[in-house]
Subunit: 287 residues, 2 copies
């Protein structure tokens, strides 16, 4: 049980963690900080946070844990401002989808306090965003990846792990660079493909007719193109290197498929489709 | 009301149409023909067909309508075999996802009987396949595209239209080439991307770990990679030209996104993602 948790950027992820911890009786007061007063007061009236603060010092004073749940581009400035406050034993964590770049920003911004920072990424989400979509069971059965650095304080790490486990998540630790390569493939690449596909189809000639004829498959395939554009812009830029590598691999794979279609190689094409179906079906039954 | 309907290739689409027509009292007997005796007898015991036949002549004798619901690569041979049977007023239709190539095969195979062929494509489906997945409401609220040729008999066209409307579908007529360009964009391209993505991720180094960490977004994005590989191989080859054009457009679009990420052009990237989200959200509320 911690007395006070402060969320910087009260959206789906921070809000859902807060709801889960409240429901479990694992936190006393939840304070929300953000730049948009209307959103903060909505989060408060929904019961996602107990108190709204627009002043960072007031928001974090007395908190045992501060969670950065903002877009990644905002985090560097927040680490610097947190380092300037008299916070003693405060533990800081984040929920960013990219870890190496966030660790780099935290090391630069937090200075001596870097050892109390626990880099984290809950591998869960929804294309719905905002505190209104927050729900206590969002992390049930999902993985949370923590990527502690060599300097990371063991007690701080244990606190963050325990609070994620309280929310029903399975906590896994790995190297930040490994996390970024893994997520570039499983999440960042698919998002880029979905955004690019929708923009390609809707923006071209006859875009309206195309969207009208799109069937259920297209609907599912592009669901993630309804995700928050700012968040995803930041993720793509923060994980640029691993994402470009994944994109390059996908492009050469797609080129091979294109060559098979062009050359009318039915057997090779059917084999590739069959292999993909088998992998997809196997992955689905595993979950 | 027609007395007898014969389905060549009893799977999800043909089976669902049969169920819908039966439920509406619009058909007397449904006969199923196929090469796999076990599958046919399963369709019969599920009540999807009334009678199973492995002999084509016996299957179609006395039928008012024959539906080709096989993979496209099998259709050319079936048109030729149907042309050789003494069938008088029989109307023939198909449910293939590509129309120009099927029309070409029908014209070549059916000869003088080509005027009684009505090319059709129900724009509905599911990654589940087979007669066991057939359901009477599959086409409710979905579009069925008919692409009659200049020679197509008006009464044959009217019959097929009425039977699709009886199944709850909205029937639209358009040019076969236009249909193929439209479907290349909305359906064939997305399927190729999903198959290529799953095969790329699962087949590379660390594929098992990647599938383990894939979150809900990946699951949705790749649902259509669980579709029937043979059917999709045939579709890709039959609609080669339009599909390659759509693939080419997508590739150059993806290249632009890649360039933005590489150059760190956050503003342009955010705009593109925002545009895609707006189009996706608009498309979703429309349905």
């Amino acid at each position: 049980m911690i007395k006070r948790l402060t969320i910087l950027g009260v959206g789906l992820i921070g809000g859902s963690w807060a709801r889960a911890l409240k429901e479990a009786g694992a936190v006393g007061e939840v304070v929300g900080w953000g730049r948009d007063a209307a959103r903060l007061s909505q989060a408060q009236s929904l019961g996602v946070i107990d108190r709204a603060e627009q002043d960072l010092a007031q928001a974090v004073t007395g908190a045992e844990l501060v969670v950065l749940a903002t877009p990644i581009s905002v985090m560097a400035g927040l680490f610097e401002r947190l380092a300037a406050l008299p916070l003693d034993d405060l533990v800081v964590t984040d929920v960013g989808s990219v870890k190496a770049e966030v660790v780099r920003m935290a090391r630069a911004g937090l200075g001596a306090r870097f050892s109390r920072f626990v880099p984290g990424h809950p591998v869960a989400g929804d294309e719905k965003t905002g505190a209104a979509a927050a729900r206590a069971d969002l992390f049930q059965g999902h993985r949370v990846v923590l990527t502690p650095a060599a300097e990371t304080d063991a007690a701080a790490l244990a606190l963050v792990r325990r609070l994620w486990e309280t929310a029903g998540a399975e906590v896994v630790e790995m190297d930040a660079a490994h996390h970024d390569r893994l997520l570039a493939a499983t999440s960042h690449l698919p998002h880029v493909l979905a955004f690019a596909l929708v923009d390609c189809l809707a923006g071209g000639e006859g875009g309206e007719e195309i969207l009208r004829y799109a069937a259920g498959g297209f609907r599912d395939l592009t669901r993630i193109a309804s995700s928050d554009p700012v968040m995803w812009r930041d993720i793509c830029l923060a994980n640029r290197e691993a994402l470009l590598a994944a994109l390059g691999e996908f492009e050469s794979h797609l080129q091979r498929v294109k060559d098979m279609i062009e050359a009318g190689q039915g057997e090779a094409l059917g084999e590739l489709f069959g292999r993909a179906k088998a992998a997809r079906d196997r992955f689905c039954t595993k979950r």
